[in-house]
């Protein structure tokens, strides 16, 4: 059992926790009794309580704060779609494509978390180097096939949507990772057994999006890429309405870590 604060020294040392009622009940009573009868400690208690009130006031000031409309979901969903982890209804050609490309290339001052586009680097972590290279070659081939022009610029051009799925991840591209090193943000405290880490990149070559979430029914990466490239309405090669719309995604094998 903790020693109860009795002297002024003990009581004053307990004040930071006392003002927030973060002491054990017996200690709270002991400090309260002492403060009630000691002017010096009562004055110090008042200062500590005033300081805490400032923090509580800041909480009240921010209590009604919220992310700007329309909230975070559209941006999150957009990044999941462009990263290929979620089926999207947004067209990837025409105005929709231009909007995506603007977002990819826009630089926002003061941002320190990631590159020009928040979160762009994260999906690159999913692509093994070999798989990304294979995807780039496939895109180049598709580009040649569809455009009929040798040396098509569609794949690999900086900032293009195609480049997202085709460009191998940059060396050391870990802009989202904290000083704790690869695998996740820095952690405070010891024994952080339930920390969240980025999944390890698979070493062996594999098709793009293998193991990642992708719409069910579009297992062939070439079909997915073709569907992304073709049709101003974002539909498939057959001209159907967006082949990806409404698709449910499938998870890769589950790995229970904890």
């Amino acid at each position: 059992m903790e020693r109860l604060p009795e002297s002024c020294t003990d009581v004053q040392a307990s004040l930071p926790l006392f003002v927030g009622e973060d002491l054990e009940p017996a200690a709270l009573d002991a400090v309260a009794r002492h403060v009630g009868g000691c002017a010096a400690c009562r004055a110090l208690e008042g200062r500590a309580r005033s300081a805490r009130e400032l923090l509580l006031g800041l909480g009240r000031e921010h209590a009604h704060a919220a992310p700007p409309a329309p909230g975070l979901w559209p941006g999150i969903r957009g990044q999941l779609v462009t990263g290929g982890l979620l089926a999207g209804a947004a067209p990837l050609a025409g105005p929709g494509r231009e909007a995506v490309e603007r977002e990819l290339t826009a630089s926002r001052p003061g941002r320190v978390l990631s590159g020009p586009v928040s979160g762009r680097a994260w999906h690159r972590a999913h692509l093994g180097r070999a798989s990304a290279a294979a995807a780039a070659a496939l895109l180049a081939a598709l580009g040649l096939l569809l455009s009929g022009e040798p040396g098509s610029e569609r794949s690999g051009s900086p900032g293009s949507v195609d480049a997202l799925v085709g460009v191998p991840p940059a060396a050391g591209d870990a802009s989202l990772r904290g000083p704790g090193g690869p695998g996740g943000p820095g952690e405070i405290g010891a024994g952080n057994a339930t920390a969240v880490h980025l999944p390890a990149v698979a070493p062996e070559p594999q098709p793009a999006f293998e193991g990642a979430l992708r719409p069910a029914g579009l297992e062939d990466p070439s079909l997915m890429h073709r569907a992304l490239l073709l049709s101003p309405q974002g539909g498939g090669a057959s001209g159907q309405p967006n082949a990806l719309a409404g698709q449910r995604w499938s998870l890769g094998p589950r790995k229970k870590v904890h």
Partner: protein, 243 residues
């Protein structure tokens, strides 16, 4: 070691919120009719239901954003942080441990991202400096035209408090934000930050003391009094006081 908590004692349950915090904070966003508890939504999201994940985001975005905003100096950074936190949640859905509350997990990610963000920045967090040389601006909202003077004073005080809070090391900031601004209990905070209950109480004790000392020092400086040195190694992003 972190403490395990049952599913029933979530941050919004009877034991998770301090009485004064209930009065200070607005109620959480109402759940969609039939949307179900968080764990059910996580299971549905794991099964591939986009709507379930969207519901999780919409249900918790406001509070997650607020936690981030109370630790970083700008709305933009808070938005980036919170968005990244949800993206990480999405990528790690299949590894979610149902012995924990979803909010605990989410707030841990947000807090860790905020701490990483703070460690990369300079100690002074009260302004943002554009890389393109634009004029720095105070990150908290400017007073709106026509607001009463006491509201303006309140905003100014809030800005000063935020500055003072930002001067503390990240591990003190995070505990103070979660305890004083979000009203979470120490046991919940311990799970979020991955520390023991004793460690959290120690950081809370030190954090409040350091905040008070820093506030009084700045007040004396503002009033033209003697400007004592900032409190030792515990301010300005130093980690030396970790037990």
């Amino acid at each position: 070691m972190s403490e395990r908590r049952s599913e029933s004692n979530g941050p919004f349950g009877a034991q998770g919120r301090e009485p004064d915090a209930d009065a200070a904070l607005p109620p959480e966003e109402p759940a969609e009719p039939g949307a179900g508890p968080d764990h059910e939504l996580v299971r549905r999201a794991q099964a591939g239901e986009e709507r379930a994940f969207e519901t999780l985001v919409r249900r918790h975005e406001r509070r997650a954003w607020r936690v981030a905003r109370n630790m970083v100096p700008s709305d933009e950074d808070a938005q980036d942080l919170t968005q990244e936190a949800f993206l990480r949640v999405f990528r790690s859905l299949d590894r979610f441990d149902f012995q924990h509350e979803f909010t605990t997990w989410l707030y841990r990610i947000v807090t860790n991202l905020a701490i990483d963000h703070l460690r990369k920045r300079r100690p002074s967090f009260s302004t943002t400096a554009s890389t393109q040389g634009e004029e720095s601006e105070i990150d908290l909202a400017d007073p709106r035209d026509g607001r009463p003077s006491d509201a303006i004073e309140s905003l100014e005080t809030a800005a000063k408090v935020q500055e003072c809070l930002s001067a503390l090391a990240p591990h003190f900031q995070s505990v103070l934000v979660l305890r004083e601004l979000e009203g979470l209990a120490c046991t919940e905070i311990a799970e979020i930050v991955g520390a023991t209950h004793v460690t959290v109480r120690w950081r809370l004790h030190r954090g409040r003391k350091l905040f008070q000392e820093e506030w009084e020092r700045r007040k004396r400086l503002a009033e033209g009094g003697p400007g004592e040195e900032p409190v030792g190694a515990e301010t300005a992003n130093t980690e030396g006081d970790s037990p």
